[in-house]
């Protein structure tokens, strides 16, 4: 008998211990459990929660790897030690130096996010006496991708504890949460430590500690620059599309996000309705703002001019609307469940995201706020969609009877 049998015997021996769920979590992570169903199985499906979660994580890995290279690339570029990479395969981008800097800053974020988050899950599993849920697997991967590279690790840890406990566990754990936990964590960081989550320093590794010294470098994002009615030098649309711009760790490369989106849609894990409708909503709001500028209602002196005059399609490649639409809005727990509801839900996310982006220069990145807001309204949308359907069918029934 091998190690697996020994572990199984250990489990049986300690059946009544309080800490058993913690042991089970590790055990089932490594091995298929020995128990089999005693009565007939009713549903045989391969797409259980674990596989769904893993699919999303696979879709996120390219973003993470790109984020590491980009962290190093932005760092050295701001220092002036390397030249700008030409295109996605640019020689100065995929270098070992970039990866080393990126790994040194990004991997600790991943470790803290998973370590702290899973620790909270373990504690709650032991308290409640149920098995550890897989819900944190995706959240833990998303969190490092949506924070600035230089965020202090203890802040991330505090935010993760807050997000998992207040965002998820108080509502009853995985599958019961109203708000997307990853975005709750980001919102907490944003409001608790605004100096580390916004402004023109935090987006490039090393910019904060150099601020005020002769070696100071800029760490501004494109969106922040637009909000100030300026722009960043030397960045064209292709840089935005490939992702060679400063930003949160994993959200810059629109190219890889689109690949991830196709993967999610193809595996039927992400809802294409939500993704498409979010983008339509964003484009619609962008068009309205362009119309306002074209009509001459807003002049160049207005503080909204910088972002309002951005051509509507460019809103999709600056900022993280695409990342939000693909990985955040589609979270099956917090999104609308009905098909019609998904269209409404997605459209409003896109619409409100761009509205916040333009109208509130303090929150140029309104995507996470818009998604959190619509998370709250998703059940209401579903309710009215379902009621509308019931009403329509009642009418049909009446017509038949009469």
């Amino acid at each position: 008998m091998g190690l697996k049998q020994n572990l199984h015997n250990f489990k049986v021996k300690n059946q009544n211990k309080k800490w058993l769920p913690a042991f089970n979590a590790l055990f089932t992570f490594l091995y298929t459990p020995n128990e089999t169903t005693h009565n007939g199985t009713h549903i045989k499906a391969a797409d259980d929660l674990k596989r769904t979660m893993n699919t999303v994580i696979i879709a996120l890995v390219p973003c993470l790897i790109f984020g590491m290279f980009n962290a190093g690339y932005q760092h050295y570029l701001a220092l002036g030690e390397i030249t700008q990479a030409e295109g996605f395969l640019g020689a100065s981008f995929w270098t070992l130096d970039n990866l080393l800097v990126g790994a040194a800053t990004v991997l600790p974020l991943v470790v803290v996010s998973y370590g702290v988050g899973l620790a909270v899950e373990f504690v709650f599993a032991v308290i409640k006496g149920h098995e550890v849920e897989e819900g944190y697997l995706v959240t833990g991967m998303l969190v490092p991708l949506i924070v600035p590279v230089d965020i202090p690790l203890w802040m991330l840890a505090v935010a993760v504890i807050f997000g998992v406990v207040i965002g998820k566990e108080v509502f009853g754990g995985t599958g019961m949460n109203i708000l997307n936990p990853a975005l709750t964590i980001r919102a907490f960081l944003f409001f608790a430590y605004p100096t580390w989550m916004s402004g023109d320093k935090v987006w490039v590794h090393g910019a904060v500690e150099r601020a005020g010294t002769p070696d100071a470098i800029s760490g501004e994002t494109l969106l922040g620059a637009y909000a100030q009615n300026t722009s960043l030098a030397g960045i064209d649309y292709w840089d935005m599309f490939w992702g060679l711009i400063p930003g949160s760790v994993g959200e810059t490369s629109k190219f890889l996000i689109i690949i991830g989106a196709l993967f999610l849609i193809f595996t039927k894990v992400g809802s294409w309705r939500i993704i498409i409708s979010t983008l339509i909503g964003a484009l619609a709001m962008g068009l309205i703002f362009n119309g306002v500028v074209d009509a001459g209602w807003i002049g160049e002196s207005s503080k909204f001019y910088g972002l309002m005059s951005v051509p509507f399609w460019q809103h999709l490649i600056i900022g993280s609307i695409l990342f939000g639409a693909v990985y955040m809005a589609t979270d099956p727990v917090t999104a609308s469940q009905t098909n019609k509801g998904k269209w409404i839900y997605g459209f409003l996310i896109g619409f409100i995201s761009i509205m916040i982006r333009v109208f509130n220069p303090a929150y140029p990145e309104g995507v996470f706020l818009a998604i959190l807001l619509m998370n709250v309204f998703a059940p209401t949308i579903d309710h009215y969609v379902v009621q509308g359907n019931v009403k329509r069918r009642m009418k049909r029934l009446k017509a038949k009877v009469a």
Binding site: P152, W154, M155, V158, I166, V170, F188, F191, A192, Y193, P194, T195, W196
Partner: protein, 214 residues
């Protein structure tokens, strides 16, 4: 037998725990969210409400048999308003800075649901002494929550307690700040007060399962 009979003592102790006006009856939330960013303001608010409720309950109880029931709400409002004006004037005279900080919220004690609630539910049907105890008890229950929330919000949000920098100086980077600690700005915003109250409710109901309603 001490000063209070068992039944009377319950009037004071019940609202402190299992019948707390904020965490169980969920009354008076607005002021609990608005003024608890600082401990000092919470304490002053708690004392003000203690005064208004104690005296107000006694006054209402004393005149309960001569209030025409049709206009009793107006009479109650007049009593609260009079008491609140006294509190407001006292604060303006002796603690002007603080009264500016509390601004409109002292005036809004008038609309604090706990006060009208106790007048209606208790003082109108009970004698002077019991009404007084009930007022004190509920105001203490309210004050305790206010002070707990204020304590955490000021400590974590500003790093001070009653204005004393207990965690060090954030600008000179002394104390905790020298190792990279920073104040949590979210604590100063009202939503966090709601979350802190929520956590108190959570802890209380976990300790006493009988309080959980379906």
């Amino acid at each position: 037998m001490g000063l209070l009979s068992k039944k009377d003592a319950a009037l004071i102790t019940d609202p402190l725990a299992d019948n707390n006006p904020i965490t169980i009856q969920v009354l008076g939330i607005c002021s609990a969210l608005a003024i608890t960013a600082q401990l000092k303001a919470s304490i002053v608010m708690a004392i003000s409400v203690l005064f208004v409720m104690g005296v107000g309950n006694v006054v209402i109880s004393a005149i309960r048999n001569i209030i025409p029931s049709k206009i009793r709400i107006i009479v109650q409002l007049t009593v609260v308003a009079a008491l609140v004006i006294i509190v407001d004037q006292v604060l303006k005279a002796f603690a002007y800075e603080l009264s500016k900080e509390l601004s409109v919220f002292v005036g809004l004690i008038i609309t604090n649901c706990i006060i009208m609630g106790r007048f209606e539910a208790f003082a109108l049907g009970n004698g002077l002494w019991r009404s007084f105890l009930d007022g004190i008890g509920n105001a203490l229950g309210y004050g305790v929550i206010l002070i707990i929330v204020g304590f955490f919000r000021e400590l974590l949000g500003s790093g001070t307690l009653l204005g004393f920098p207990v965690l060090g100086d954030p600008i000179a980077k002394t104390g905790l700040y020298s190792i990279g600690y920073e104040n949590n700005g979210f604590m100063l915003l009202s939503p966090m007060a709601l979350i802190v109250v929520g956590i108190i409710i959570w802890v209380q109901r976990t300790r006493n399962k009988a309080l959980i309603e379906d």
